[in-house]
């Protein structure tokens, strides 16, 4: 991975977000290059989802800036959003639509040209293993397949940045392995932010790890760097986030 030459896809500087008097996210910096998979960790309520929402333009930061491929989210939100694929924690699925209908809708909403709608659909379905279920209603699919539809929705417009919030939640071990393989594959040509609680998943898939705790970024290192120091991710995570649990942080999300 030639990290020095690859273009920067996400640049977030000094992100802050207050809800009332409480700071949910404080001074978060994040930089991601093309072809990089970033593992985004933190205990519940650390401000991960809030940060994701700011990165995807769903929430305005109280301070700081987000730029996607050099396009400022504040100045040109539509151009910036067109380059992001986002799978929120709760997949935004219309249960009454068929898989094909839904994915085509997602593609159209993300400004995929009419001529390339069909190839995009075929490619997204093939990547997420949805080939047999195109005509099924989303509501009738199992949780694992619904999750795959959610991922397909995030990648159908071939975005530069893919943000996945707990994509393997509720999947069986086989499906998890498939999804991880898919994320690695996606990471080869896009940049991916993977938000998860499963530490082995991060060690298996990601190039770099950032840990958030109580709204602040407390750790930022590459997986290779961790290996050189001969510490496991679990140790680091426990050291940084355990011991000072207090009730206040639980509301932060």
């Amino acid at each position: 991975m030639n990290e020095q030459t690859a273009p920067t896809t996400i640049l977030a500087q000094g992100l802050c977000r207050d809800f009332g008097n409480r700071a949910a996210v404080y001074d978060v910096n994040l930089e991601l290059r093309s072809g990089e998979v970033l593992g985004f960790l933190g205990p519940n309520g650390a401000g991960k989802t809030t940060t994701m929402r700011m990165l995807t333009g769903n929430l305005a930061p109280s301070a700081g800036s987000v730029a996607i491929c050099g396009i400022d989210m504040m100045d040109r939100p539509r151009d910036a959003k067109a380059r992001i694929g986002y799978l929120p924690e709760m997949p935004p699925l219309y249960r009454e639509l068929r898989v094909d209908e839904y994915l085509l809708l997602a593609a159209k909403l993300h400004r995929v040209a009419c001529a390339s709608l069909c190839p995009s659909l075929v490619k997204a379905k093939q990547r997420c293993g949805l080939n047999g279920v195109g005509r099924q209603l989303i509501g009738s699919l199992s949780k694992g397949y619904q999750q795959r539809v959610g991922i397909a929705q995030a990648i159908i417009h071939n975005p530069d940045v893919i943000i996945l919030d707990e994509p393997t939640a509720g999947l069986d071990p086989n499906q998890m392995r498939e999804i991880r393989a898919l994320i690695r594959e996606l990471g080869a040509e896009h940049s991916v932010i993977l938000c998860t609680h499963i530490l082995p998943e991060v060690e298996a898939v990601c190039d770099r790890v950032q840990i958030m705790h109580r709204g602040r970024m407390v750790f930022n290192d590459s997986i290779d760097g961790l290996k050189q120091k001969q510490t496991s991710l679990e140790e680091v995570f426990a050291k940084l986030t355990l011991g000072e649990e207090s009730a206040g942080e639980i509301q932060a999300q």
């Binding site: 977000r17 809800f19 809030t50 929402r53 995807t56 333009g57 769903n58 929430l59 305005a60 939100p77 539509r78 151009d79 910036a80 959003k81 067109a82 992001i84 986002y86 929120p88 709760m90 997949p91 935004p92 699925l93 219309y94 249960r95 009454e96 639509l97 209908e101 809708l105 997602a106 159209k108 909403l109 993300h110 400004r111 929705q153």
Partner: protein, 247 residues
């Protein structure tokens, strides 16, 4: 983009049984009223020929059916508008729209026009019902069209207000109850006051529809309806835009 969202709204609406049930029930009620008026007309027909310049079949049958249609659609609107935003929030599908590279204005207008296309299908059915009278007589085309235009405009008002109230909450039932309350309030607000020039009467929604119902297209009514629609659409857009800031 507006068209894409409108199509999506129609698709999800007709995929559920709600749209079909509503269409069937509205048609049943209006068919019943239509039959009742037709009966009444046939009974008094012999007396009508004796008076000079008698009211025609359009005035006696079609206009009351359209008046009833407005009342029935007022009841049906909350069920339709609660889906538009409140239910999308509840099902977490709103994120798909707000993360996509489209403006809030596109989202709101798309949802509004999607619902209006549904209302158009209801109005079309009422028109067909009225046109069936052509088998036994003639219709006053001007009165029929003015009724249809009035119904379209008042439906647009219902939709705009319902859309705004739907944007205030993430609970569909609350959105429906709020919309029904607001619409009923606007409907009956002129009942309490007697004098004709009162502000209450000016603001009442159905008062403005009544002139269309009589075949009178007044620019004041047109302005009232346009302002009403515009105001609530802008409020809905502002509300959804503000959500990004408030969180």
């Amino acid at each position: 983009m507006i068209f894409t969202i409108a199509r999506k709204e129609l698709k999800t609406l007709f995929a559920s049984s709600l749209a079909w049930t509503l269409l069937a029930l509205v048609q049943l009620v209006l068919g019943w009223v239509f039959m009742g008026r037709l009966d009444a007309f046939l009974e008094i027909q012999s007396q009508l020929v004796q008076i000079a310049n008698p009211p025609g079949v359009t005035e006696i049958i079609v206009a009351p059916v359209f008046a009833m249609a407005a009342a029935v659609l007022l009841m049906a609107t909350p069920l339709l508008t609660m889906r538009l935003i409140a239910e999308e929030r509840r099902n977490h599908t709103m994120t798909l729209l707000t993360s996509a590279p489209i403006s809030i204005t596109d989202i709101v207008l798309g949802k509004f026009f999607g619902l209006m296309i549904f209302f158009c299908s209801v109005i079309l059915l009422v028109m067909v019902l009225s046109l069936s009278l052509l088998m036994g007589g003639t219709l006053d085309a001007g009165l029929l069209l003015s009724n249809a235009a009035g119904l379209l405009l008042i439906c647009a008002c219902f939709a705009a207000l319902g859309l705004y109230i739907s944007s205030l909450t993430d609970q569909p039932a609350v959105a429906a109850a709020g919309t029904l309350g607001a619409l009923l309030g606007l409907w009956v607000m002129d009942i309490a006051v007697d004098d004709g020039g009162s502000i209450m009467r000016t603001l009442s929604l159905l008062k403005h529809y009544e002139s269309f119902n009589r075949g009178l297209i007044d620019t004041f009514d047109l302005a009232y309806f346009s302002l009403f629609i515009l105001t609530f659409l802008v409020l809905a857009i502002r509300r959804l835009d503000g959500e990004r800031l408030r969180g």
